[in-house]
Symmetry: none
Subunit: 233 residues, 2 copies
């Protein structure tokens, strides 16, 4: 390092954002994406600051090219030392993983429909990979669904979440299941309890919400929920 320079907070922030963006997305951001994050309302100001950073020798720009931002070696040096040390620290261990097909969606207003196609035929890209250790033993007959809509927030499940299930028509006490409520024409996720031979209790996962009691005859178990996954990044 030759000399210490001020480098305005905004510019530092821009630099940081670009670095993170590239790392996460494998491509540079647009100037509008930068402006949205910093935040800077005008694209021209972003452009202005990028020019300043270029003058410092931290960035390069390809004119008239979308996402034409590139780090110089000097700019890269500001971040690089961190990243490679970390890559080393987290050790990746090779094991076998369970390949689960994503077969559709689950929503309030419709029963789960499983295409009766054989599992082996599903697209390679419609798969979820899970460690067998997370699934307590039996890893067969599993499938995954994407949750659509906010109707299952009382099960602490959000739109976009992935639920991994096993197809089964009966449930034991305390298992979380996807049930079809015939009276309501609704699919929900609940903890299942036999209260009597005729009545079942469906308990929401959210502890602040009350259970519902319904006739055993009016519920149809569609499968047991093995796991819920939510990507937030």
């Amino acid at each position: 390092m030759a000399k210490e320079k001020p480098l305005s907070e905004r510019q530092e922030r821009i630099l940081q954002f670009i670095w993170n963006y590239i790392r996460r997305n494998g491509r540079p951001p647009t100037i509008r994406e930068i402006g949205k994050d910093v935040p800077i309302s005008s694209t021209s100001v972003v452009s202005y600051n990028l020019k300043a950073l270029r003058k410092r020798g931290l960035l390069e720009r390809d004119a008239d090219v979308s996402r034409g931002i590139r780090f110089t070696d000097m700019g890269r040096a500001l971040f690089e030392d961190v990243s490679e040390a970390v890559t080393e620290a987290v050790s990746n261990v090779v094991e076998k993983l369970v390949h689960i097909p994503m077969v559709g969606t689950i929503a309030a207003g419709q029963p789960i429909d499983l295409p009766n196609t054989d599992h082996a035929l599903y697209d390679e890209d419609n798969m979820v990979d899970v460690s067998p250790a997370m699934l307590r033993g039996d890893t067969s007959q599993l499938f995954a669904l994407t949750v659509k809509g906010d109707s299952m927030i009382d099960a602490m499940v959000n739109s976009g979440d992935i639920v991994i299930m096993r197809e089964q028509k009966i449930a034991e006490n305390g298992e979380m299941v996807a049930v079809w409520l015939k009276d309501d024409d609704t699919t929900t996720l609940k903890y299942f309890y036999h209260e009597s031979p005729e009545k079942v209790r469906l308990q929401p996962a959210n502890p602040t919400m009350d259970p519902i009691f319904v006739d055993a005859a009016s519920v149809e178990i569609q499968g047991k929920v093995m796991m819920v996954m939510r990507q937030t990044a």
Copy 2:
């Protein structure tokens, strides 16, 4: 590897071009740039072949985003062996499973305390295994926490859930982060938005709940939430 498939000459050429382009320019090409090189006269044909390559699991695409082409680990593997050891240090991602250390708990009334022990020292059995595909590429600096208590139900996170996070002190708009609210002495999980240089908006994941607005100075970001997992069986 299960079975080897032909992979048409055009598609091979496309792959090669994308790889070289990224290497030379630090950003993915546009579909028109691809078409110009291959050559393919129509953008739709490039798009068509890209889709085919995606089905093969060699590429990923971000819809409606310029230059939204990304190599998957599998696709990258086709070229990586040729590259020098230098490249390997930066971009080597293991295909199988990411091993993430469970470093503690997260609860409302306490900041996250990361034992400053080195990551390599954690117990082998206190690990969570996740597919790297679920984590959008970057698998470094990750750690996992067990949620304790019901205090985060508004983030749709329950007691016992596992949150996978990355340590970072700043956040970009829309990221879910664990923040320490100095005024309340509370740790919560919220979606983060810069409203102004001084104010931030913290948005609960539960869409039925309202956001809170606080001074940027009074929040301390503890990490970004990459994923939430819940075992129900």
